[in-house]
Subunit: 259 residues, 3 copies
């Protein structure tokens, strides 16, 4: 990599100067940093959405990239700020459960609590650690600072109560865990689990849905199930919004059953 | 160009990890790629809007840039994925009409159907060819792969039914084809056609509008016509939203006439 | 800096091709330019919001960066377009008050009116000077053109009527000047002024609010005051939106008083 890449993921939106202040701080310390926006439009303070966003983003990036994540309702409290290595992926983020899903998939090989203030921006505000701690630490890491210099190792981290599916012999019972921009309902029933069943169908909101291979395989307006690009059972309305049809968001029950 | 530039244009929004997965795939294959966001906020699955967006974007870029575009309601069907050269501009996108307007302006000098799976990401999902086909192909092109290696040449492409204006001796009749963020109504009557008329006025929704040279030339609230920065007749309300005034979107009739 | 960085701040949104046309023009003139998006989602034509956005953004960036800003309701009128140096920060923007707050903090050391058309894109539209003047001028500056070649020096600039707080012996009276994405109400009473008072409390909408050090210090739903990360008194609802509670936007009165 000919220049160090730092990605930013926040719930700050684009209309306020918060994400921008982080960019400025990074470039002030390392003008050669290559900043890539992952998102500034995460739903405000929604840790579960953030955890799913990261699990759908970070795995695709090469190992050299450093990911800075700020969804931080507990800013200013005693929640820790962490440097995390998950296999080869590296993140800087608050210890509030954002890594829950990534940590189910990758082994956290190193966690460090950020305590060394010489890598921070002074004075440190009580409400904006993204600007005053995470951004300057990211810039220093991109300049070659060793993670071990940032603070002491820690061995545990916060986990979100992510719902797990329940298994029967001929069924898997799960729920909607993520609603995307297109109104598609993504569940926590994996494609692998669903494919173990013989001729599986998907039950949601009193409907029994066939599993198709892509959206355009059914007529417009038809509600279908399919396997999402992230490997989970998804309910969609062709050229429509499943979330409106079911008045459904996270938590709505879904079952995949043999018929 | 000291590094290969790849632009991304999608309707994925910023809150979901889809556009981000494409960035990760590109950087995993070519860490030196310079990714520029054109938009991830195109109206979902709106091919006409996408075609206008591209015709207002691509012409301004230098030839070395590679544009990846994903508005793809037909993902997973037998619609083709294409590499397209339009004069010196280069795009990767589904063959669903997105290039209709660009292809009216530039001669498509080369079209290649993407079939060579060795440049794809495996396994290829049925619902996310942006991540699994277009992104890896873009990265390989940026590393020097010849377009001819991507698949066979093709000689035709899908076209959208873009409305054309109707000409009379002293009038041009068209319609609104694009509504922008400011609520301005952009029509398909070109500045060149309108200027051929003697003292042209613009008729829309029962109003006869004078053509001014810029927004601030009329008082706030006044509905005016002017020539848009893209070279078409546009209807605007000074410091207001013309689309609200006319309750108007695409398809509303407009006439430019001599008075 | 191994490549020249140009930032873009506009109210163009991401769905239309306007901001993108600026990126293309810049890269066409200087393919090595590194473009960083600050925002394209500023509230349309809102100069006061733009001025606050810039005052919360530009100070964090290193001096070598060039900031291009387009919030330009007067485009096509005789309002000037300026190159501005504020200490070491450099901006290109319309002379419509956008620099009001920055100019209170930094000394404008150099102002140049853009008049030299050889650095512009021809033909110059009457409604899109961002694309036809600011973007090409930015690219030429990034290639080493001296600011003095762009036009004649000027010695004054437009100012917005930014409200100033009123001081009493034991109180400061101000108002809300900015509402952020989280619904937090940021006022024009500075932390320094508030801290001069003995045991200050914040009065707004009939409520008397204690000043806490961070959001999570009070229970969810509680309305509190605190010092914003930009150094001003801010009113927030823990895990809620203060702007909804007070049905409040810019202009709502706030007082900080001794009790």
């Amino acid at each position: 990599m000919n220049q160090p890449t730092i990605t930013l993921t926040t719930d700050f939106g684009w209309a306020d100067p918060y994400a921008v202040a982080m960019k400025g701080v990074i470039l002030s310390i390392n003008p050669a940093a290559h900043i890539v926006d992952l998102s500034h439009d995460l739903p405000a303070q929604d840790l579960v959405h953030g955890a799913y966003f990261l699990s759908g983003s970070v795995p695709y990036f090469p190992a050299e990239v450093l990911h800075v994540v700020v969804v931080d309702p507990g800013v200013g409290t005693d929640r820790k700020l962490l440097f995390v290595e998950l296999d080869s992926h590296r993140l800087l983020l608050p210890d509030n459960g954002l890594i829950t899903l990534l940590a189910e998939r990758y082994r956290p090989t190193r966690l460090i609590e950020l305590t060394e203030r010489r890598y921070w921006r002074e004075p440190v505000s009580t409400t904006f650690h993204g600007r005053d701690v995470l951004a300057p630490v990211a810039a220093h890491l991109s300049l070659g600072v060793e993670p071990g210099e940032l603070g002491p190792p820690v061995h545990d981290w916060q986990r979100l109560p992510i719902p797990q599916p329940r298994y029967e012999e001929k069924a898997v019972h799960g729920e909607v865990v993520y609603v995307d921009r297109f109104g598609n309902l993504i569940t926590n029933v994996s494609e692998i689990d669903a494919r173990r069943l013989f001729r599986p169908r998907v039950l949601m909101g009193g409907q029994s849905l066939e599993i198709v291979s892509t959206y355009a395989q059914a007529p417009a307006g038809r509600c279908v199930a399919l396997f999402s690009s992230s490997g989970f059972v998804e309910v969609a309305v062709v050229e429509g919004r499943a979330c409106d049809l079911f008045d459904a968001g996270r938590g709505v029950a879904v079952s995949v059953v043999e018929v």
